[in-house]
């Protein structure tokens, strides 16, 4: 393999600079296109942090887009707001108003900040590649493919550069954390992760894996020394020096972030963790609850149309049949409007239940990590933490799929076996982002870009992965390919439904059906990829040993 790569690219430079410039061009062109309300959210934060004293940041609520990210992100917005040129200020960029009134200058400025902040990701991945340079050329080209696949990710393009968010920088920090873990710089690993959490708290979902990994490989010493007695062994069980060092680093980061807000922490936390939201988002993220909601809708139809089924359904689920007589309620539930009652037949899901389910699957993933604290195990656990929070979490956004895709990308080049779950995950995950951008003019960009990405990296990953250590699942591979190809009719049908929406009245009423297609089809794909990945994680120990 290594020699082949050498033959084919004697002068191959393998740098991300070229990729950065290419995508820079595309991102600049996208700047004038569609952006979501998240744009106004971030503009409002620029205004709040610029115009108000720090003590009022988390209290301000003129706009409904209140500041609900942790302090580092607020500092970041403050720093950006210092750079706002006067022409952008006049454009209304820094006005605290309920709904932003802004024009092109503000759009250019904010788009530009996203593009610039994404350099963190490029730099982090560049460093990852540099530290992968060994005598073995294959390892290096593998790291190049991984890095390129991440910086070119359609997810980042859609979410950051069309929809508008700052994920590129966030995932840059995550990559820094991951690479420090790989290089066994545990203190830096802790530092970057603490920093990341203080930027955006969604990464708390990954915290269990990081915690166990750092604890086990840096702070604990599980060797039993027979020469000394039990007590000393117990004391030496913990590497106190390391524990204190790591603790100090993490506490220092949190202190810098939250210190200035010491007297308003309850208010801050109530902003960060709003539990008033519903189980599913207006558009269902493709997870377990999407399938669950879908089942509920199916059962409603069964109940209403099949008189025979009424009694057994009633006996099994013990729901309130009066609700099903209320036509308006059924209307809202089939249209996907999130009301007070989300499920009419199936039992209601509480936040607690989702929390326990997430925790259960995370702990399951952490056990092998505790016994085998290798880097690969760590990334595997990180991936599974992402999976379980995405699949079982409360009010999950479809954007959170990147939490899974980023860590898993560092693993796939390890073994061909993992390519199956990976392909299923990225294809279903990225396609499930399509409804996020609903404007027709961006349609060719999001679709063609995603297909292009998939083709490039489907072949490149296959080219660089090492030969499987365990041979199995050939038929399974075909099923996966078939399922991925099924996304083509899915996108085609939903697009046609969009196109002919004005022509046929009925399609307008089926608006929700379209989103349901997406989330159910992609949901099944992602759940299957979770099952595939988990089985490899728990069954094949040899996959998870470091080189």
């Amino acid at each position: 393999m290594a020699s082949e790569v050498k033959v084919s690219s004697p002068n191959g430079e393998y740098t991300l600079v070229n990729i950065w410039v290419i995508t820079l061009a595309l991102k600049l062109l996208l700047a004038v296109g569609y952006h979501s309300t998240d744009f106004d959210v971030h503009r409002n934060w620029l205004a709040i942090t610029n115009k108000l004293p720090l003590s009022k940041w988390y209290f301000e609520d003129t706009s409904q887009w209140t500041l609900d990210y942790p302090p580092f992100f607020a500092y970041f917005e403050w720093a950006l707001s210092q750079l706002v040129p006067s022409i952008v200020k006049e454009d209304g960029c820094l006005d605290i108003v309920s709904r932003g009134q802004y024009g092109l200058p503000t759009i250019y400025f904010q788009r530009f900040t996203v593009i610039l902040s994404e350099i963190v990701l490029f730099w982090a991945l560049h460093w990852y590649m540099q530290t992968s340079k060994t005598n073995d050329r294959a390892t290096f080209s593998r790291s190049y493919v991984v890095a390129a696949s991440l910086v070119l990710s359609p997810g980042l393009l859609i979410i950051d550069h069309i929809h508008f968010q700052y994920n590129g920088m966030m995932y840059g920090f995550l990559v820094l954390m991951i690479n420090n873990a790989r290089l066994k710089n545990y203190l830096w690993c802790g530092f970057w992760f603490a920093l990341l959490i203080c930027f955006k708290h969604i990464y708390l979902y990954l915290a269990p894996a990081v915690f166990v990994f750092l604890l086990r490989s840096y702070c604990l010493n599980l060797k039993y020394n027979k020469k000394v007695n039990v007590l000393i062994n117990l004391i030496r069980f913990v590497r106190w020096k390391n524990l204190i060092k790591l603790g100090l680093v993490v506490i220092a980061v949190f202190a810098v972030a939250f210190g200035p807000f010491y007297d308003q922490l309850p208010q801050l936390f109530s902003r960060l963790f709003p539990f008033s939201r519903g189980l599913t988002h207006a558009y269902w993220a493709p997870n377990v609850w999407a399938i669950y909601s879908f089942l509920d809708r199916v059962l409603i139809q069964v109940y209403r149309n099949l008189t025979l089924s009424r009694y057994p359904l009633q006996q099994i689920f013990e729901f309130n049949p009066d609700l099903l007589k209320d036509e308006s309620l059924i209307q809202t539930s089939t249209r996907g409007i999130v009301g007070d009652i989300e499920f009419l037949i199936l039992p209601t899901i509480t936040p607690k239940l989702t929390f326990y389910l997430t925790l259960f699957y995370q702990i399951l993933a952490l056990l092998p990590l505790f016994y085998q604290p290798t880097f690969r195990r760590f990334i595997g656990a990180l991936t599974l933490c992402g999976y379980s929070s995405f699949l079982f979490g409360w009010h999950v956004h479809e954007k959170a799929i990147l939490l899974v895709i980023f860590p898993i990308s560092f693993l796939v080049s390890r073994d061909r076996l993992l390519l199956g779950p990976f392909n299923l995950l990225v294809s279903c995950g990225y396609v499930s982002l399509f409804p996020l951008i609903f404007t027709s003019i961006e349609w060719p960009i999001k679709v063609v870009y995603t297909v292009l990405w998939y083709i490039i990296f489907y072949f490149n990953f296959r080219k660089v992965v090492s030969i499987p250590k365990v041979l199995e699942g050939n038929i399974l591979d075909r099923v996966i390919h078939g399922y991925i190809l099924g996304l083509i009719p899915l996108v085609a049908v939903t697009t046609l439904m969009d196109i002919f929406e004005n022509k046929f009245e009925i399609l307008k009423r089926l608006e929700f059906l379209k989103l349901m297609f997406y989330s159910v089809y992609c949901g099944i794909g992602i759940i299957s990829s979770f099952n595939g990945f988990s089985s490899y994680y728990f069954i094949y120990d040899s996959l998870w040993i470091d080189d």
Binding site: N11, L26, L29, L30, V32, T439, I441, R478
Partner: protein, 521 residues
């Protein structure tokens, strides 16, 4: 992938890479080795991956076009007349609602149809499809000036699909056939196709400003492919289709005439080709035949001699020297058209004479063909009557094909392409496409790499190329920073066309020199 399949692919890969290494030494070392475009595509260098390289090329071209389409278009939000975007939409509207006999007569004051019949048919098909999706986009008279997202998307989509059908396959196939002739590696063919396809001028005009030039240029390229194959009847069919899509294709007509004339060996062949031409033209005009008025109307609409010597500001001889000599005040329109005709003939005669005699007894025609088309159409652009700034696309396409003959000319070819895009800047600025202009220009030049762009060893050329780039930058800075004085509101535009005219003239001379030096055996 099944286990057996995997084995198979592994062995075939081995065989292929071996054969690739065997073939390689024959071909010249790629000059693109050091440029970023090679770095980006080198993953697709191996033989089994080359097909993927082509897909990457086509799909990234689509993405670039779609992204540029997010910007403004000609006449956006300028009622009551709007611009080319509205013209194209209006033609779709009128062709689907009116009988063929009224197409060229309908409300001539509001974007009356003034392109040849194939454009009308093209509009008809697109209009039919569009009104099937959403009839309100094309309601007769009521849809004028419609600018909602839906129609915007549909129009952008049609221009991308038209280019995907007509232009891009033509470029790929001509790169393939010429690549074999001139011994270019597959990788170089892909890179050169990418450079041809992603030239900003065509993208900005077709997918920004909004027109369907790519269809006409694609039809021309198909004709060129047939000419290379020496299949003159097929070439005539394509060429007649080309000029029946857009009359600007006539810029190529003198040379195709000279060329075919130089190649015909017998009177019989001449009759066959002539018959093909007439038959094709008749078929295209079929719906109009029988109505003499209609035919006359088409001709007067398509060739509007009353419009004047040039429109807006064009970097050709007449408009540039107009700064000093006010032709339109000195000479009347009738005589001006005669003078410009004489000047055009004078300009293209040397190239045609040289090529006629050089190609007559030769078997290697391709070089002469490309130089001839570039030289002739550039002569038309520089000296003929009623030239648009957009007409520069016509000479630039064959000029860019010179890369397939000799990739080392990339410095001069990309230079003239840059001048061409630069000459369109005043138009693009009006259409609110400055961002798109800057980005697409930057992209193509960066892909090729400054090292290659400034690599010319000849002192004179090196000065010309660097000097032009410097002047272009200065012009942009002036245009951005200083508001022109009230007396000369167009001063930066005049500066722009001055630079462009200089560039085009030098390139024209270079083409003549190249043809003079051309060795045909």
């Amino acid at each position: 992938m099944a286990r057996g399949g995997k084995k198979k692919s592994a062995t075939s890969r081995k065989v292929n890479s071996q054969s690739a290494t065997v073939v390689k030494p024959k071909q010249q070392q790629s000059i693109f080795k050091k440029s970023p475009v090679h770095d980006l595509l080198h993953n697709f260098q191996r033989v089994p991956d080359q097909w993927a390289g082509r897909y990457v090329l086509v799909m990234s071209a689509v993405i670039l076009r779609a992204a540029i389409g997010l910007g403004g278009f000609s006449g956006y939000n300028v009622p009551p007349v709007f611009g080319d975007f509205e013209a194209q939409r209006h033609w779709m509207e009128l062709t689907i609602h009116l009988p063929v006999s009224e197409w060229y007569f309908f409300d001539l004051t509001y974007w009356g149809l003034d392109y040849p019949p194939l454009t009308a048919y093209h509009s008809y098909i697109l209009g039919k499809i569009g009104s099937f999706i959403e009839a309100s986009w094309f309601t007769l008279n009521e849809s004028r000036g419609i600018e909602i997202d839906g129609i915007k998307f549909y129009m952008r989509f049609t221009s991308i699909v038209s280019e995907l059908i007509f232009y891009i396959p033509a470029v790929l196939s001509i790169a393939n056939s010429m690549g074999k002739k001139f011994n270019l590696s597959r990788m170089d063919q892909i890179i050169i196709s990418l450079i041809i396809i992603n030239q900003p001028h065509l993208i900005l005009i077709d997918h920004g400003h909004f027109q369907f030039n790519s269809v006409m240029l694609g039809l021309f390229l198909y004709s060129l492919i047939e000419l290379i194959k020496k299949n003159y009847m097929m070439a005539s069919v394509w060429f007649i289709a080309c000029i029946n899509f857009k009359q600007m294709g006539l810029y190529y007509s003198t040379f195709i005439f000279v060329f075919i004339l130089s190649q015909l060996k017998s009177f019989q062949e001449l009759i066959l080709v002539g018959f093909t031409v007439i038959l094709t033209q008749l078929v295209i005009l079929l719906p109009f035949i029988g109505d003499r008025n209609n035919l006359i109307q088409i001709v007067t609409r398509v060739f509007p001699f009353h419009r004047g010597l040039f429109e807006d500001k064009v970097a050709n001889f007449w408009c540039t020297t107009n700064v000093i000599v006010k032709y339109r005040e000195l000479i009347d329109l009738q005589n001006l058209s005669k003078i410009s005709l004489a000047a055009t003939i004078l300009a293209f005669t040397p190239i045609n004479l040289m090529l006629f005699f050089k190609l007559r007894n030769s078997k290697h025609l391709t070089r002469g063909l490309i130089y001839g088309f570039a030289g002739n159409s550039l002569a038309f652009y520089l000296f003929s009557f009623q030239v648009h700034e957009k007409s520069i696309l016509i000479p630039l396409i064959p000029a860019t094909l010179i890369l397939l003959i000799d990739p080392t000319q990339i410095d001069i070819i990309q230079w003239v392409n840059n001048v061409g895009t630069f000459s369109l800047y005043p138009l693009l600025k009006k259409d609110d496409l400055v961002l798109q202009y800057a980005v697409s220009n930057f992209l193509i030049n960066w892909l090729i790499g400054p090292k290659l762009l400034l690599s010319n060893q000849n002192l004179l050329w090196s000065i010309i190329i660097k000097g032009t780039y410097l002047l272009m930058i200065i012009c942009h800075i002036l245009d951005y920073a200083i508001i022109p004085p009230a007396r000369y509101p167009d001063i930066w535009v005049v500066f722009n066309i001055g630079i462009s005219f200089l560039g085009f003239s030098l390139f024209f001379l270079w083409l003549n020199y190249k043809v003079y030096k051309l060795k045909v055996e």
